[in-house]
């Protein structure tokens, strides 16, 4: 039993997702370690995004259980497969980003981060009435939200662009802003769908730094889908490999890198050739 199974923040058990006759995910089980970066990798069409969609409530899984354990010492848990997507965001505090950027392009950078803190502000503003009147409770809540937004803007290096429309930012900055926005919802688990897609090497390094910072300084658990192996290998504590909806490998980055079935899946060899590949890998290792 590996350490991520001992006190996981998220456990996925026997997850199956069928679309008609197509089995997108087949009896998948894995754990996301608390305060760790877990990468979900696999060739195109392996079912990675489907797993994300099940976790964040876009799809209702055909079978299986997804449990979130927000607290270290037990306490309240959430069965995510039974919750609607906005409940998962609001009550279970799971945040996610998408493969394509989904910022509110017409709103300013700062507003994007303020929207993410909507619920506390809405309460503090006494459902808008107090906000119009400018009651002090609302002002202090607004200040607090603004401070949090500025903290993250500072960290992603966009403080000086706070009042620009989000759509005007360069691509890499938009990616970082999306992560900052997700962090403003104060998540327990951060799910990132290909955060490094389309980034140049420098931006990719900045992203690595940001994700490490979130893990180390805030202790937030991260689950990410990634194709960029340099990102995966550098920052992941734990890697889960999918192929055709099944888990084919699960371990540390180092373990997975040397797993013959992973190599076979990525190179696309036939099942009966896997043994040959294994032999080759072992031969190369010696």
């Amino acid at each position: 039993m590996s350490h991520w199974d001992e006190n996981p923040v998220l456990s996925v058990e026997h997850l199956t997702m069928r679309f008609g006759g197509l089995v997108a995910i087949d009896d998948l089980s894995f754990s996301v370690g608390r305060g760790e970066i877990t990468a979900l990798i696999g060739p195109n069409g392996a079912g990675k995004t489907t797993v994300f969609n099940c976790i964040t409530g876009f799809y209702k899984p055909t079978e299986g259980r997804i449990t979130l354990h927000p607290h270290v010492d037990g306490g309240e848990t959430f069965l995510l497969e039974r919750m609607a997507d906005h409940e998962i965001a609001r009550e279970a505090h799971v945040a996610r980003t998408f493969q394509n950027i989904r910022l509110f392009g017409g709103m300013t950078v700062l507003e994007n981060l303020m929207v993410a803190q909507h619920n506390e502000l809405m309460k503090a503003s006494a459902w808008t009435i107090g906000g119009v009147l400018g009651i002090s409770g609302f002002r202090s809540a607004e200040h607090e939200a603004m401070d949090r937004a500025k903290y993250w803007l500072d960290h992603i290096g966009l403080l000086d662009r706070a009042d620009d429309p989000a759509a005007d930012l360069p691509y890499g900055a938009q990616r970082r802003l999306e992560i900052a926005r997700a962090m403003c919802t104060e998540p327990v688990l951060l799910c990132l769908d290909e955060p490094a897609a389309g980034l140049n090497p420098r931006e990719s390094n900045q992203l690595n730094e940001l994700l490490r910072y979130i893990r180390n300084e805030h202790g937030i658990s991260i689950l990410l889908i990634e194709h960029d192996m340099s990102v995966v290998m550098q920052i992941s504590d734990h890697v889960v490999v999918l192929d055709y909806g099944c888990k084919i490998s699960d371990g540390t980055a180092e373990e997975v890198r040397n797993d013959p079935s992973v190599i076979a899946a990525y190179l696309g060899v036939e099942d009966d050739e896997v043994e040959d590949v294994e032999a080759e890998v072992e031969g190369a290792a010696k």
């Binding site: 609001r90 509110f104 017409g106 502000l121 808008t128 119009v132």
Partner: protein
Amino acid sequence: MEYFVQQLINGITTGSIYGLIAIGYTMVYGIIGMINFAHGEIFMLSTFIALIVITALGILGMSSVALIIFALLLVLVVAMVLTAVWGWAVERIAYRPLRGSFRLAPLITAIGMSIVLQNFVQITQGARVKPLQPIVSGGYTLMEKDGFQVALSNMQIIIVVLTVGLMTAFSLIIARTPLGRAQRACEQDRRMASLLGINVDRTISLTFVMGAMLAAVAGVMYLLNYGVIDFYIGFVAGVKAFTAAVLGGIGSLPGAMLGGLLIGLIETFWSAYFSVEYKDVAAFSILAIVLIFLPSGLLGKPEVEKV
């Protein structure tokens, strides 16, 4: 000159009322991309609610000015609250169940809802025109020449001041409060807004409530200013306000107000200088011409598709 100034005053008053109704169309279009054809009927309902409350309070028999002002404020508040409930209910019953449906479905229920509300009022209140004696009277004479007086009535002042005040308040709500931010977020990407923990259904409901409240203000002003209402006024007012929203650029709040003013002015000037019969033709012709050259309206943002 005097004649012109008088028409300007009248046009701005009519335009303010159109503008207030138009905001309801434009806000709903902005957030869920549908035209709420029942919005004109919401306006009509508010005039009836106001008339009933005025009668119930016995305002016509009051003699003290302070008491009348207080009573009229009460009428305004009651009309806003009750109309907001109607607006909320229409969304809840006719639009929310169809949210995931194809685009035309809520449009059809909107037309259905409009007919239902008209008939409901016709049955319960009767088809006859309901008159109301003027409550707010008096005014000022701004200039006078050759026996022609330019009059500015107190009612016109109230209408314009109230409209400007409400426009400012609502613009601030949209720009500065968490609710306004949530509305703008839902406008751009409802799914993402929901993933950030925003209750999208509630935000949409509140948009209908806000639109209905503004329509109620317009309704109370309409009743006090013109003094005649019937179950059918919502149709014409609704079409005019919708035209105003499109002219100003649908989805844009200042656009709705500008469009309302323009429609009011065009109508008034056309009736004053040409013919009353063709005032609607004039308003709609201008709409058609503007849309040929500016398809997204005067203040609407053109949609640029990124490739």
